[in-house]
């Protein structure tokens, strides 16, 4: 059952931040609530104050400019991302991922900001956004700060959000030339959270021969979305081929830190990390080669 709380609805960022400051002893922010409400109904989370930011229209936007890339307001829903012509054009992997996230109903109400702030290592957006060097803007009454998304996730269900701080914007930089991204998750029932997921970004050198830069980010394979940095390094400056991909997959598997649970053993998860890393990196590589 849901425990009693003091309900406050904010209609602007300024109002929200004041409320966070006022109730900073004990509050929770609810936007889409698709993760939070389930926890509250089970009595696992029972804030004294609930700050509802669903009506904060100023956090609901998707903007693009050719220099700075995409700016997504944290209150944008998954469905809006899925359907956005801008996202489909400039970040198709993200739109594609949204199609396979949860259900249409959840996507219609749940938000990208809420998803990231929940800090679930198995969440779908995290790995893709980290692989594209996404930063997040956090705001409080005192200050605004910008953090690389990979530093935003601290531990399982724990983020860098401080007391009084609100995640207000997700910033995705322009894709470099000859860069492509790919993402895949492994699940048994479609749209379920991945038993393991991997996002990869590959940037090819100008001459198209070697790999200039790479990002490999693992989901549901550690306490947070995890960059497989050693695996990335194996690609950079190299000519990519099947043999190299196999080693990269193996390395990513070694870097991962998955659990055993009722859905899969640690061994199987490590195996999936290897398999998905190879598939996803290959896909990104092949698309990057073809890209302009």
């Amino acid at each position: 059952m849901i425990h009693n709380f003091n309900y406050r609805r904010a209609t602007s960022v300024k109002e929200t931040l004041s409320l966070l400051e006022k109730f900073k002893e004990d509050y929770k922010i609810i936007c889409g609530g698709q993760s939070l409400l389930i926890l509250m109904r089970q009595g696992l989370v029972a804030p004294e104050n609930l700050i509802d930011i669903k009506s904060v229209k100023e956090m609901s936007y998707i903007d693009y400019d050719p220099k700075n890339g995409l700016k997504i307001g944290a209150a944008i829903t998954h469905r809006e991302i899925e359907k956005s012509p801008l996202i489909k054009k400039y970040f198709p992997v993200l739109a594609e991922m949204e199609k396979n996230l949860a259900s249409i109903q959840t996507r219609n109400w749940g938000t990208i900001g809420g998803n990231l702030a929940h800090g679930d290592p198995a969440g779908d957006p995290g790995p893709i956004l980290i692989a594209s060097n996404t930063t997040v803007k956090l705001a409080s009454l005192e200050r605004e700060r910008i953090l690389p998304l990979e530093d935003f996730f601290i531990d399982i269900f724990e983020t860098a959000l401080e007391e009084g701080e609100l995640l207000i914007e997700i910033q995705v930089p322009i894709l470099l030339k000859k860069t492509a991204m790919a993402y895949e998750k492994f699940n048994i029932i479609k749209n379920q959270q991945g038993i393991v997921s991997v996002a990869a970004s590959v940037t090819m050198a100008e001459d198209g021969a070697g790999c200039k830069d790479a990002r490999i980010v693992l989901g549901a394979a550690a306490a947070t979305p995890l960059r497989a940095k050693e695996a990335e390094q194996m690609l950079i400056g190299k000519k990519i081929d099947t043999k190299l991909l196999a080693s990269v997959g193996k390395k990513a598997s070694e870097e991962s830190d998955p659990v055993s649970d009722i859905h899969a053993t640690e061994t199987y998860r490590r195996f999936l990390v290897k398999d998905l890393t190879i598939k996803v990196t290959r896909k990104a590589w092949e698309q990057a080669k073809a890209a302009g």
Partner: protein
């Protein structure tokens, strides 16, 4: 816990209710307004039996605080038919036997109604009801029922 005023239009009827803010939208619909067509089948927002239209989009009413729907327009299964006139989708469900125990049916109809409005017809119908669990039908009769309406729409719209 201090009660709040909720303004809600449900099936074109406007209501003002004093409610506890911890009430879920589904509780207001079922318990306060007596619209028991919308069901609940789980506690983790997974089954979709509670699906309603909120300002035209399909949402799980068990996973939304009623206060978040303040000022919104909600459509439940009771609001689909116009008196005795069933919607083409409801008629198609009847014709195809697209229900058995019927407990998931309200949610299915709402999800399918939204899907038929929003998405290109006849494509990815499975995706349209992916968020709704049915234990009885094995889904295929429901897909046939939706497809028949989508194809009818396609014909109408010259696709």
């Amino acid at each position: 816990m201090k009660k709040k005023l909720l303004h809600l239009t449900v099936n074109d009827e406007y209501h003002e209710l004093y409610i506890s803010p911890k009430k879920l939208l589904v509780e207001i619909l079922r318990d306060e307004l007596g619209l028991t067509g919308t069901k609940r089948g789980c506690s983790t927002g997974a089954c979709g039996a509670c699906t309603v239209l909120l300002d035209g989009t399909a949402v799980k009413s068990c996973s939304i605080l009623a206060m978040q729907a303040d000022g919104a327009k909600v459509t439940t299964v009771e609001g689909l038919a116009d008196g005795a006139e069933l919607t083409p989708l409801q008629q198609s469900f009847l014709d195809h036997g697209a229900f058995q125990c019927g407990f998931c049916t309200s949610g299915m109809l709402i999800s399918a109604t939204a899907f038929l409005r929003e998405d290109p017809a006849t494509k990815d119908i499975k995706e349209g009801i992916q968020g709704n669990i049915c234990r009885c039908t094995g889904y295929n009769s429901i897909l046939r029922a939706i497809k028949a309406v989508a194809e009818g729409k396609d014909k109408e719209e010259g696709r």
